[in-house]
Amino acid sequence: MASLALRNLSRNRRRTLLSAGIVALGCALSLVVLGFVERSRALIQESTVQQFGNLQIADPNLLDGRAEGFAYLIDPVRRVQVEELVRAERGVVGTTAQLSLSGLLAVRRTTAVVRAVGVVPENGVLDYNDLVVEGRGLRPGDVGAVLVGRTLAEELGLRPGDFLNLTATTVAGAFNVSPLEVVGIFRFSSAEVERAQVFVPLAFAQLLLATDGVDRVVVRLDRLGRTWAAARAIGARLRAAGLALEVRTWDVLSPFYRGLSAFFDLLFGFLVAAVFVLVFFVVLQILTLSFLERTREVGTIRALGTRRDEVFRLFVAEGLWLGLLGGGVGVLAGLGLSLLFNGVGIPWQPPGTVEAVALGVDLTPAVVGIPWTVSVLSTALSAVLPAYQATRVSVADALRAV
């Protein structure tokens, strides 16, 4: 019976090839697009983790943007406690601490409000030196040094070697001002960050705020996939240690990533739905015609004692074979196209990343499996209605059909 369904596909080769071709096209197309989306997502994930680390541990009020005063600061004792507790977790590559502050940057007669991120230079976990396009990065031992974004540097006419002043309020509430040397200019994917954010050594930030605390501990893990399990485990450890700190994962920390990821999901969902609704209706048309042409044959096999449900299954099996054929060809075509794409390597800069990369397609099991499954299912599904109709005709009427 399964082989009869398969052989039925050979009746009208041109029509079978047409329908299988449409299924294959839909499958191949969505495979390539899904692969492209996955590659982009992976790149953006990577750059997001470059920017935020895998995890950040901080006071919940700070993370939620509700912080008042400096109550959120983590003193050295607690910082050591946190770092030790984190390093005990599997997959942790390293930790570093940061302290950010808002300040007024003054150069000559111009001022700008900036957010200065105090980082440990060359910490091996998360430093921003690889963003530097002019001058040099921050070095251990640097104190009065700053990395300025490209946009801000242009606006203020800053070059490496220039000096500027940064004013901020100390933890105790006093004004404090300190000179800084611009050692490097960094670029970033977002002009907003390039304008409003500068990087200073952690030691400088602590000096300016007159504190020995930090505001967050950044954790780097060996694998991206470990992020969420590690976050849960570390969160539990923090609670057990009685520390009122919270763990945030990189995807939550980056509103940009969250938005983009949701957009990708939507884009892909929409595309797959559109392609397969189209495939479904085209194949539905073809199969309806194909089954209708065989009304008399349905009459014959039913007269010979084939039951309604057997006829139904025969036709749905035919749709399934068609889907397997089209889906198989589609996967092969999609893989070929992807490899071609990856080989050619068109340069492209995904949104939110710093470097242009080769436009490519990631071939994960999901990238191949989803389009294949959906194309096979939608083809089989498009056989259901015409198959049902084929079983509704009375045997005598079907036999009389031409």
Binding site: M1, R302, A303, L304, G305
Partner: protein, 244 residues
């Protein structure tokens, strides 16, 4: 014409039609295609139902073959009324106990001759080895042992009808019903098919009901019913047919 005898070992009635009436509605009109027809086929019978076009032959055959239901009256198979049986049970009776031969052969074009003959055995879930054996036997019986692998479109009309006869016989049904089996064949080929059916009746006591408007079929009949305007208007027992 082949010298042969009918099956003389008569058994119980296989198929009975009691007061079979069938209406068709065509637009506003109600056509009475069959009018209180009584019919009995006893095991081993070779019955020909003869009548002009539109007289209700196919209608009667469809009712007897359990592929259509009468408007009034009852069809009994092996003495059991079938009117209240659900569709599944009728399908089971058709695949196990009834063989059908059509005017237009109605073979499945994508299957070979042997596979067409095998088809009913797949429906009855006959084991593979037995299927092979039965197909081989019955194809030999209809003289097509050498053409088993051919597709229907590689066969002549007469050969196709032989495949159809083999398909009807392969399940060893209680009765074989044929609707104008010679109408799409030239007269010489038609004669061969009728001789084949006659031979099967004589040698294996297969029960046949053949409906036709072809007078050339009548000499093969053991019993001839004449149908006109949906009524049986004559019955003739012929016994041993005359040699040609």
């Amino acid at each position: 014409m082949r010298q042969g005898s009918f099956c003389y070992v008569k058994g119980a009635p296989v198929l009975e039609g009691r007061a079979l009436t069938k209406f068709y509605t065509l637009g506003k009109e109600r056509v009475r295609a069959l009018d209180r027809v009584d019919f009995t086929a006893v095991q081993g019978d070779f019955t020909v139902v003869n009548g002009p076009s539109g007289s209700g032959k196919s209608t009667l055959l469809n009712l007897l073959a359990l592929i259509d239901r009468p408007s009034e009256g009852e069809v009994l198979f092996d003495g059991q009324p079938t009117g209240s049986l659900p569709e599944r049970a009728l399908a089971a009776l058709r695949r196990e106990k009834i063989g059908l031969v059509f005017q237009t052969f109605n073979l499945i074009p994508v299957l070979s001759a042997a596979e067409n003959v095998e088809y009913p055995l797949l429906l009855t879930r006959t084991p593979r080895a037995e299927r092979r054996e039965r197909v081989r036997e019955v194809l030999a019986e209809v003289g097509l042992a050498d053409l088993a692998r051919r597709r229907p479109d590689e066969l002549s009309g007469g050969q196709r009808q032989r495949v159809a006869v083999a398909r009807a016989l392969v399940t060893q049904p209680r009765i074989v019903l044929a609707d104008e089996p010679t109408a799409n064949l030239d007269s010489a080929t038609g004669t061969q098919i009728m001789e084949l059916l006659r031979g099967l009746n004589g040698e294996h006591c297969v029960t046949f009901v053949v409906v036709t408007h072809d007078p050339a079929v009548i000499p093969y009949a053991e019993r001839v019913l004449t149908i006109r305007d949906g009524r049986i208007v004559g019955e003739e027992r012929r016994g041993e047919p005359r040699p040609a």
